[in-house]
Symmetry: D2
């Protein structure tokens, strides 16, 4: 039975795996765990696998205006702009985020100068989180960068907005791989499951809280007001005292 | 005139400079810019310069129980536990956070397993931000780590919760230093001033929003409930089929 | 007059700008400063602008074998495999490396399991460095990741193998941009110029030192020998004493 | 039997655990694995546990001149200055280096402006590596920062100069902890053992190579020559045309 307490919320998950469909993405398995909790509570969700689309590189909203033949981003961005929740998910390579993750962040950044109806930057009032899988090391390093980027462009980051799975250092199974004993790597990891759950709920709670309260109040964070000289009680320390 | 809309809020700023009082801390100048906005709006604020106190190293709440002669942390922590807003501030050395910053984060982490009255981790319902100054490089790198650590232990990070000042690459003036032309480095940097202001307001808005709504709802993020088998609609992907 | 002391060396510079040719890349200007020192001393150099080529995403040497229509990497890699010196250069976006940089590192990683004639990994005996430009923040953060990745796959990193330029925090001119006073941003920055020069010379010295000494001696670092049970005097601490 | 091929080399290992002696440090167990390979080959080694000493915080060579009562660093630094090899080792907390590690790096940085007899910075000709242990995540993140810092102040980083151990994500045994089955966590991890061995040998090879060749040649990397106007063939791109 689908519950309805979060039914006015929309969420987008972007999978930044380097692997094109239909090949299997380990990260997608973890995304699904989060996505299905949201679905059960009425959140409208959408999953995008970035590498399946011709997303151009660059820091402009539409790269076809900058000499690229194709750019799937403007169309994909429509859903992101409507979503209350954005979860960026991806693998770890050499301890860092994938190039697809960086491309997606660059494209999100491209629209970060636009303003919402209050005059705040576009992403104000939205919440962000991340999911990371790898076979041995780097969840926190990757999450640090993703969550920083999201808050920097206007997303709110609720408590414990990152989760992931990695195994013991060294080569080994990836998330969900069949092991010799018939089990599947990581799927029984209580820490990963709990953190994924807590992240998902905290994203829903915070998105709901912001939605029900009309977002972040529009004072002290308005770009044009600042540019017009309203400095919201900021005083230059030089002239104090 | 002090305004009163945020008068039920408390904020703690921790300055993680390596410089002991009474010597001047460049970072403190930027802290004051944020702190005075809060004060004008009725927030009760407190500033701690970590290096002035005998804070032990370690990951336990009270290191005198682990063989250290002295530990100023338990006393300092009382204010942190009461505060709705925590701003960690510090300098950049070799492009990274100071050792005092890392020590403070380790000590915050030491209490991260405690629970609040709802059964959420202790820092749930509080908000965090950071201020960084250096002479040439590294605000984002430092902020990434600080904000990640804060959200990981339970703080909410509102939009654009980091601000700072750095000059052009290479040796040069630090924030607030007198320049040859009589000006003071960084104090007129519109970007630094705006970001400091926006951060301050976003911290106040989010802290107020959380306070007025009773914090983050206690569902889907309760440690003991999870341990007791309530998995809040999480389903292991393995068994979904 | 071209000097000849380094004439047996080859260097490849990869520019990881997001900007396609013929549009101008700020990073390229700094690359040229390093490249021309090498040229004057007889090093054979090559400059690749990654975004101009159809380089596939992935962690395999040739992605056309993994379902991609095109992949320019295998051809580009021939020069990299021959080069004694590799300099990865790029811009900063949101404080981090560009997606093109990450893609290049992923592709370098793809060949990191291959062995040289001694039985060491392929990149042993080669040296690496990096050049970063941005308008305000992040040289060290970007360099940290690049140099780590290079040493992790087998490159030697000589002293001070990173250089770059950034201006004061906030929006502003990029490297080489014309300023109001007719000067060009960063070009007179003594620190950037010195570090670029020192990096270049240290790369040449170290590459020459390794070349003249037959690379890194093949003992204690041979993959197949290890797998065959030669543990080069490693003893498990468990069984010591 | 002690071999003698590296008998003119000295190595210092600094353990940046937060745990004071005599309590056990997990990191120290891994240090010993590297140290004993060096010893067998005649390298003179020394192990320092930073937290056991009253090392002041700061970025000056002797902090007693900056208002600190005590500072153990100047005495400890004598061995570091003599050593050809420096290995910084430590634990992971919240995915990052310990505060002790940052303090040690700050103090190394404090002497980075001194020059050697050639006029190069002090650490030129020395080699650096790192060892990291944690229970779940962050070797590469920590290593990235340490190795970057070392190369930035003048150390050479040979191939694969980092090693470490972490277990599967979530709470669990630390390196060397007794497990239920009687084994000890990590000690049989072939990847950790191999990387520790390869790192150790690469440090010895590179230190020997540099020592036998008189260090890094003193051209293109001399601070005072640069300041006096010898720019070692650097040309400002502006004037190239």
């Amino acid at each position: 039975m689908v519950k309805t307490e979060f039914k006015d919320l929309r969420a987008v998950f972007i999978n930044c795996t380097l692997t094109k469909s239909p090949a299997k993405s380990h990260t997608e398995l973890l995304i699904e765990a989060s996505q299905q909790i949201m679905k059960k509570h009425g959140v409208q969700t959408k999953l995008i696998r970035a590498v399946d689309h011709d997303i151009a590189s660059g820091v402009y909203p539409d790269m076809t205006k900058k000499g690229w033949d194709k750019d799937a981003w403007p169309e994909l961005f429509k859903d992101i702009a409507k979503a209350d929740i954005l979860v960026l998910a991806g693998p770890i390579w050499l301890g860092d985020n994938s190039s697809e993750m960086k491309k997606v962040i660059e494209r999100l950044y491209a629209s970060s100068g636009e303003l919402n109806e209050k005059g705040q930057w576009l992403y104000y009032g939205k919440v962000g989180g991340c999911l990371i899988t790898g076979n041995e090391d780097g969840i926190k390093h990757c999450a640090m960068n993703i969550l920083y980027s999201l808050q920097h462009i206007g997303y709110t980051i609720p408590p414990q907005a990152d989760a992931g799975w990695i195994g013991e250092v060294g080569p080994g199974a990836s998330y969900g791989d069949k092991l010799e004993d018939g089990k599947r790597a990581g799927l029984d990891n209580d820490f990963t499951n709990r953190n994924t759950t807590f992240m998902t709920w905290n994203l829903m709670h915070m998105a709901k809280l912001l939605k029900d309260n009309g977002g972040i109040p529009g004072e002290g964070n308005l770009r044009q007001a600042w540019d017009n000289g309203n400095h919201f009680d900021f005083e230059n320390p030089e002239y104090r005292s």
